[in-house]
């Protein structure tokens, strides 16, 4: 187990390093004219040269990368070209907003989806399962932006229950902010529900077919004991991994959802950054998103290892 722990953490670090290199390389591919973006079009050659030197754009690639990486790890992420603001506080604030949304979505989606998936799997082939499979299939097929727009048009505009925009003034209290957060998190939750529910269902069905279930039944144990004590333990283990994957999906899906609801989150910031070709901002934002995702995976793997006796005790 210790060996597994060490290995896993090492891989985490290695993967992040490789990923950061890849992103840095991709961003450096930008043929854009950085100096014009910062100084404006009519800048003089001298000023441009000075800027180039200041930003370290004339150094070889690996040196630039090393510079950026050391700065990043120290907490100095530089300034945004477009907004002329320090990047880190901006990104972290937006990240906080996005995470809030993601967390609410997960809280809303995960318990019912696991429960529904479980019920569907235990009643394989019966009407409940068929209905669940059908509905979840359609839900999975609806892109986030379609779902978001439907919810806005129906709930906000027609029924006028909730606000349609999720722009929250930064100093608003949680209570004030909450109604605005409901629709976007519901949007994210809807697809998440279908996705996790389906995976749970498949896991339960597969587990019910295992031989040890027969052994348990032939001991005379009640159905409840067989399911809750024997099957669930094994069937839900992969669900932990699924939840981590869903966080990864959320990070992507939120980009679109934040656009639909005009929510000041990280995704919206990234779209803006890319439209503006704001390199440092792109780098900072994407790196933090990737780090969060990789962390979630790491935690999920470690949790899985801790809960699975086969790995824990080897």
């Amino acid at each position: 187990m210790i060996g597994y722990l060490i290995r896993r953490v090492l891989f985490f670090g290695l993967t992040l390093l490789l990923t950061s290199l890849l992103i840095f390389a991709a961003v450096r591919l930008l043929p854009g004219d950085v100096e014009s973006a910062v100084l404006g079009r009519g800048a003089e050659p001298a000023a441009r040269a000075a800027l180039r030197e200041e930003l370290g754009l004339d150094l070889p690639f690996l040196a630039q990368y090393a510079n950026w990486l050391s700065g990043f790890l120290r907490g100095d992420w530089g300034n945004s070209y477009a907004l002329k603001l320090p990047i880190r506080p901006l990104v972290m604030e937006r990240l906080g907003n996005s995470l809030r949304l993601a967390l609410i979505a997960m809280l809303v989606a995960i318990p019912p989806s696991v429960l529904l998936g479980l019920l569907a799997g235990l009643n394989e082939g019966k009407p409940f399962d068929t209905a669940f499979s059908l509905i979840s299939l359609i839900l999975v097929g609806i892109p986030e932006f379609v779902m978001g727009i439907i919810l806005i048009n129906v709930v906000a505009l027609e029924w006028k229950l909730l606000p349609s925009s999720a722009s929250v003034p930064p100093d608003a209290s949680f209570g004030e902010a909450l109604p605005r957060l409901i629709l976007p998190s519901l949007t994210a939750a809807a697809v998440l529900l279908a996705y996790i529910g389906r995976l749970t269902r498949v896991g339960v069905i597969a587990e019910m077919r295992r031989t040890y279930v027969r052994t348990a039944v032939l001991k005379g144990l009640s159905w409840r004991q067989v399911v809750f004590k024997h099957v669930l333990r094994n069937a839900l283990l992969p669900t932990i991994t699924v939840i981590a994957i869903s966080l990864g999906w959320l990070i992507s899906g939120l980009v679109v959802i934040e656009q639909v609801f005009a929510y000041p989150g990280l995704g919206r910031l990234m779209v803006f950054a890319i439209q503006q070709r704001d390199l440092p901002l792109i780098l900072g934002g994407v790196m933090i998103a990737v780090t969060v995702f990789a962390l979630a995976n790491l935690v999920a793997d470690l949790l899985y290892a801790a809960l699975n006796p086969r790995i824990r005790l080897s």
Partner: protein, 696 residues
């Protein structure tokens, strides 16, 4: 007899397959009394699993009872409600299944899995139930039961898992009926012997009626008082064990008994022609008629009824009287049939090729010297990546295989026998030592070797289902070696492939069939044909018959013998079954934990002195003879994990352990008068004397 615990009458169970109901078992009747062990013998497709499911009351979703009844202690089991079943399961009726690891829940401790049964039926407190579980583990002779109870299934060995399942099955004090579904099939021979000992001992305590389902005739002979022989869903014969083995009346039973290789008996095995009918293809007359050497038109047209030949002996055959009084000789009829079949196999094309056989006239075909093979990670990087620590699977093995002869290599799982073979052919790397095939060095992976080297040595694998590519036809599979190794053109290869099929007694139209359309035995024949395609000098046979039914094993063994005689090919025959090896081999070598411990000529191999491990192996073999005395030489369960023992590797388990010397010094090779070699500290004369007095 007293009221039977289990009464099955005229039971027919059907399955719904692709919309059609098919009979899995038909009109099966039997009665089992208390303290009686009843054997059910059947090959694959016999319906024994269905019978087990029906007795347990746990048929699969697409199964149903069409007619008949099952009574357990006078209660109508088929009509029992689900609640009633839950009361009986585990309390009065329990089962020991075939594969222990998959039968246990990987997420619960052993102790808990037993304790919950006790809590459910005996209604003890948690603590008391846990104590009881430990008590049961002790009764099944598990060392340190408290520790085992705390462990998870994957942390204990296969033999220990099976003992734990036995403990679970016997946990209830009210147990009346015990069903054993091939409980020792997945275990090593020595472990199996110990478990069978355990069953015998425990039965004296619990006195439950026991059904022992198996395909192994030796196990049945040892453990059961009565036997029912199942074939294609019907009971062919039902008799007391001694009667069945000495005076069987059904042709199937008689042929089956003669299809099992026996140590010291070199009469040719009886192969049964044809294949076991699948559920869809069951014949309408007598189910055995298509394969029966004495079948008449009557047999093909009408199903024979079950008749009483004498008290307690039932047969389902039209001609049993003729068999009983000797007017119909089943074995002779069968032999005559086989002889006629073999004569028609003409392989002229091959004979032509044989004339330019490049295998030469050397006496020794393969020579291995001090071969060592290591598994596991090399260096820090490997450990970092999580690979297992290194261990030596093969440690200093040397041997010589003479041309056209068979060397049998015997060992249990983990002995290194398969690894050794794979290292010769290049699938595994040889760490040190040398091997030569007809003067060509055996080095590197198959890709690195010359075509000539590959051509001269081929291999037959253990599992027929995996031996052939399921996406390619038989013809495509056979053509490859002919074209790649022998350099034939497509046209020539087609011709040769057809003849290869004939050589293994398969019809030429099989060329266009896919492996999924072939039975296990037929697949293995194709694999043999493929091995012979490039006319090798040596064929490595890795447990080629271990996965096959008994009736099919015999025909494959006979085929191998016949082909060896025809083509002058040498075999390195690997198996865990000494009897099988004894049937084919000219020389035998025994391997234990990567080292050879004994080798010698086959004819004299089975007389003492033996290496103590060989002795234990011989004593563990269940003989298909109920009158044979069970020799009690038992090894402690399984090979302990952990490092290699110092001195003699076998010393922790050796029943003839001398003392300090075995633990500290590696034993020397001893040689006895008959040219047999073995590694032990006990000299031959003394060992022979010790082992002879055991016999007496």
């Amino acid at each position: 007899m007293e009221t039977p615990i289990l009464s099955i009458d005229n039971l027919t169970v059907v399955y719904r397959l692709q919309g059609v109901w098919r009979e899995a078992i038909r009109e099966v009747s039997l009665r089992v009394a208390a303290a009686q062990t009843y054997g059910i013998v059947g090959e694959s497709g016999s319906g024994k699993s269905t019978l087990v499911q029906a007795v347990m009351g746990y048929l699969s979703a697409n199964g149903a009872v069409q007619q008949g009844s099952i009574y357990i202690e006078g209660e109508d089991w088929l009509r029992a409600t689900h609640r009633r079943r839950q009361q009986i399961w585990g309390a009065r009726l329990s089962m020991v299944p075939q594969d222990p690891l998959s039968a246990l829940n990987p997420a619960l401790t052993i102790g808990e899995q037993i304790a919950e049964l006790v809590r459910r039926h005996v209604r003890l407190s948690r603590k008391a139930a846990h104590e009881r579980a430990i008590e049961m583990l002790r009764r099944v002779k598990l060392p340190d039961p408290e520790s085992i109870a705390r462990r998870y299934p994957h942390q204990i060995s296969g033999g220990q898992q099976q003992r734990a399942l036995i403990a679970m099955a016997l946990a209830s004090p009210e147990l009346r009926l015990l069903v054993l579904d091939e409980p020792t099939t997945s275990l090593d021979v020595t472990t199996e012997a110990a478990i069978l000992d355990l069953f015998a001992e425990l039965q004296a305590d619990h006195r439950a009626a026991t059904i022992f389902v198996t395909h192994n005739l030796g196990v049945v002979a040892r453990m059961c008082q009565r036997v029912a022989v199942l074939y294609a869903g019907e009971v062919m014969e039902d008799a007391p064990t001694e009667t069945l083995y000495s005076a069987a009346l059904h042709p199937y039973t008689r042929l089956l008994l003669r299809a099992v290789p026996r140590i010291g008996d070199s009469t040719p095995l009886q192969a049964i022609a044809g294949r076991i009918p699948s559920l869809r293809q069951r014949p309408s007359g007598c189910v055995f008629a298509p394969r029966c050497p004495i079948a008449t038109d009557l047999c093909h047209a009408h199903k024979p009824p079950q008749e009483r030949a004498e008290e307690g002996h039932l047969v389902r055959c039209h001609h049993w009287r003729a068999v009983a009084d000797g007017s119909l000789r089943v074995e002779e009829a069968s032999s005559a049939l086989r002889r006629r079949e073999m004569q028609s196999a003409e392989i002229s094309f091959f004979e032509q090729l044989l004339s330019d056989n490049q295998n030469g006239a050397q006496a020794t075909v393969m020579r291995a010297e001090h071969v060592r093979v290591r598994y596991g990670a090399r260096g820090l990087l490997g450990r970092l990546l999580g690979k297992k620590p290194p261990f030596r699977a093969v440690d200093d093995v040397s041997m010589r295989v003479p041309r056209g002869k068979t060397l049998g290599l015997v060992g249990e799982s983990g002995s290194g026998k398969t690894t050794f073979a794979r290292s010769l052919i290049g699938l595994v790397e040889i760490e040190s030592g040398e091997a030569h095939l007809l003067d060509m060095p055996l080095r590197g992976t198959p890709r690195q070797r010359a075509k000539a080297t590959l051509k001269a040595m081929q291999m037959i694998f253990q599992h027929p289902e995996e031996s052939l590519n399921p996406y390619r036809t038989v013809g495509q599979t056979l053509r490859r070696p002919l074209m790649t190794l022998s350099g034939m053109s497509r046209v020539e290869a087609d011709r040769a492939a057809a003849e290869l099929l004939r050589a293994v007694n398969l019809p030429a139209d099989y060329l266009s069939r896919f492996p999924s359309e072939l039975s296990g035995g037929e697949k293995q024949r194709v694999a043999i044909a493929r091995a012979f395609a490039a006319q090798p000098a040596l064929i490595l046979c890795d447990e080629p018959v271990s996965s096959l039914d008994v009736s099919v094993q015999a025909s494959i063994l006979n085929l191998l013998a016949q082909l060896q005689a025809q083509y002058d090919v040498a075999y390195l025959f690997i198996s865990h079954d000494l009897a099988v090896v004894g049937y084919l081999a000219d020389y035998i070598a025994v391997i234990y934990r990567g080292q050879l411990v004994e080798r010698g000529r086959a004819e004299s191999f089975f007389t003492p002195p033996h290496h103590p491990y060989t002795e234990a192996l011989l004593a563990s073999l269940p003989l298909p003879d109920p009158r044979a005395r069970v020799r009690r030489i038992r090894l402690p369960d399984d090979q302990p994990s952990g490092g290699v023992p110092s001195g003699c590797r076998f010393h922790p388990r050796c029943p003839r352990y001398l003392g300090e010397v075995c633990r500290t010094q590696a034993p020397p090779w001893q040689r006895d008068s008959q040219g047999r070699y073995y590694r032990c500290h006990i000299p031959p004369a003394e060992l022979a004397a010790l082992q002879a007095e055991r016999e007496g």
